[in-house]
């Protein structure tokens, strides 16, 4: 960099550029908030779904699974598990954990009540109906 380009010019470009792009980011965020209701399935959020999300969080499901592709990659994607497996399978699966099959990955049993299982399934159903731009590519997640 030659002598014409000084440190104070670099500093001004930094502050100007940062402010500009942060404001642009805020504008896009504002527009996103406006558009979300048409995509985020929020009209289907019931107290049951909210309770299900709370169970999802307090059992740290994200520590092994991904949800809409985010989380850990140790166990299957669950954003579309409601579509892939259906409610009864999910509940039966959770109740039969851990398999204790030697050498296989193990999922703890969280000892959820029937009501809690229903809430969790309600949350997964709500999640599966979010408009994710057609992700994942297929049902396997």
């Amino acid at each position: 960099m030659s002598g014409i380009f000084t440190k104070s010019m670099a500093r001004n470009i930094f502050y100007g550029g940062t402010v500009f792009f942060f404001l642009l980011f805020l504008a896009l965020t504002f527009d996103t908030e406006r558009e979300l209701p048409s995509r985020d399935n929020s009209h289907n959020i019931t107290p049951e779904v909210a309770a299900g999300k709370h169970i999802w969080e307090t059992r740290n499901c994200i520590g092994c699974h991904s949800l809409l592709g985010e989380g850990a990659y140790f166990a299957p994607e669950l954003g579309n598990v409601y579509v892939r497996r259906g409610p009864e399978f999910i509940k039966a699966w959770m109740q039969s954990m851990p398999t204790m099959a030697p050498g296989r990955r193990q999922m703890p049993n969280f000892n959820l009540t029937d009501e809690e299982l229903d809430e969790l399934v309600a949350f997964l159903k709500y999640t599966s109906e979010i408009n994710t731009a057609n992700w994942p590519p297929n049902i396997e997640g």
Binding site: F25, A50, E57
Partner: protein, 459 residues
């Protein structure tokens, strides 16, 4: 060292290294669970090991950043730290809170931990990387504010350099964006959207300012190149970082229910995110080539150069690999993501913290640089850990490509677990590379205890 109060950096650095060792041990446990699924089950389920692994990483990097700031700010401001006592008190609070949190993860079922710590008052737990109990999160905010108060007051009463301004800006940004971790709406899309305001705007935003400031500081010290030149570079690098990185957040918004225009914004801007890292590499090599002195601490120079290269590879190249929306459609949430995450965190943040530790620790211990024997060992550690991380990344990338092919691209897609079984070989190789990393880390720790002839530090 030039100012007595810089000494408070030492406990921060020691804690950072200690927690780093813990992080890698849990990494090895997880790597093992990838191939021997029931390893340590039910004592340490995978999710617990992962929380410990990622949270330890975050906490020790924060220790490293804070130690770095306590070391750098007095020297930059040319005055003693505003309150060394406050810095030391915060150290113990942070260490005890961090240790208690980790023990909580390991000893108490997560749901019980949540109940015990007020998660029913304000639910913030159970989201990736933000698993900390509410009281820990509040503790982090208090420690961060006390820390920021301390270094800001120090800067205000002394010389204000570009490096200290950029460092302060980065650290204030870190604290401010962490506040979004308290926002957890039931609406999953909105939850995820603002979750990234912590995670992305940290690691692809304000942390890059911290990274740049640390690197610039060490480069001034070890090369003797004119401050004006180095600080000009610093501004250019962080301009590139934020101009690309802020809108680059969009690359996380493709598939979580946000509007689809993010596929354009995210792809275009995040495709440019390698630029600041490329500039950083050119910067580091350029400054070292134009050096006006031969600093006796060659290990620190090596870490500084390594940071540039590995950050560019891990964050830049491996990030670009899967950042374009049409590619990400297939790779999102696969082992490709894990590969990128590992090398980016190591190359950018682990290495820059080890750079400043490598530079500052000998001075804190009263010598300009460690003995030759100790430095040789440290450089062995550098190569062992760095090459191991390259292998970890390559093996995870191979696993990821195979996984994506079998599970997502193929005409008859396999289930997740069936695909996982097919890539076991790569997980074994990753685990062995992890063992190599651990050996490097052990060598690194040993290097601190190797004596030999040294020169006393100036001033």
């Amino acid at each position: 060292m030039q100012y007595k109060s810089q000494a408070v950096a030492m406990p921060y650095f020691i804690a950072a290294i200690g927690l780093f060792v813990g992080q890698i041990i849990f990494g090895l446990i997880m790597g093992m669970q990838y191939v021997v699924g029931d390893f340590l089950f039910p004592e340490i389920p995978f999710n617990v090991a992962r929380m410990v692994h990622t949270n330890l990483l975050i906490v020790w990097l924060l220790f490293g950043f804070m130690g770095a700031a306590y070391y750098m700010i007095p020297e930059e401001a040319e005055t003693e730290l505003y309150s060394p006592k406050l810095a030391l008190a915060m150290f113990w609070i942070f260490l005890v809170a961090g240790a208690a949190t980790i023990l909580g993860y390991l000893l108490v079922p997560y749901a019980t931990l949540a109940e015990m710590t007020g998660n029913d008052i304000l639910a913030t737990m159970g989201r990736e990387f933000l698993e900390q109990p509410l009281i820990t999160k509040i503790g982090i905010v208090i420690v961060a504010l006390a820390f920021l108060f301390n270094i800001t007051m120090t800067t205000l009463k002394g010389r204000k350099t570009a490096i200290s301004m950029v460092l302060l800006l980065g650290l204030w940004g870190l604290a401010i964006f962490f506040l979004f971790s308290f926002y957890n709406p039931v609406n999953l899309v909105r939850d995820k959207f603002y979750w990234w305001w912590v995670v992305h705007l940290w690691v692809e935003g304000v942390w890059e300012l911290i990274l740049g400031a640390l690197l610039a500081f060490v480069l001034i010290k070890v090369t003797g190149v004119d401050r004006e030149v180095i600080e000009k570079w610093l501004y250019v690098i962080i301009t590139l970082a934020l101009v690309t990185g802020i809108i680059g957040t969009g690359h996380h918004y493709y598939w979580i229910g946000a509007p689809e225009y993010w596929q354009w914004w995210g792809s275009i801007f995040s495709a440019l995110e390698p630029l600041p890292f490329f500039a950083m590499t050119v910067f580091a090599f350029n400054m070292v080539n134009r050096r006006r002195r031969e600093h006796p601490n060659r290990a620190a120079v090596l870490w500084a150069l390594g940071t540039g290269v590995m950050a560019f590879l891990g964050a830049g190249v491996w990030g670009f690999l899967h950042t374009l929306a049409p590619v990400n459609y297939y790779t999102h949430g696969s082992q490709i993501t894990a590969a990128h995450g590992h090398m980016a965190f190591y190359g950018a943040y682990v290495m820059v913290v080890l750079t400043i530790i490598s530079y500052a620790m000998p001075i804190l211990r009263g010598r300009a640089a460690n003995s030759n024997k100790s430095q040789v060992l440290e450089m062995w550690a550098f190569w062992l850990m760095t090459i191991a991380m390259v292998f970890i990344t390559l093996f995870l990338t191979a696993a990821g490509i195979l996984q994506v092919w079998l599970q997502r691209v193929s005409d008859s897609p396999m289930s997740f677990m069936a695909a996982q079984d097919q890539v076991t070989l790569f997980y074994w190789m990753r685990e062995w590379a992890g063992v190599m990393f651990f050996v490097g880390l052990v060598v690194y720790v040993i290097s601190f205890f190797v004596k030999g002839e040294t020169q006393p530090a100036k001033a």
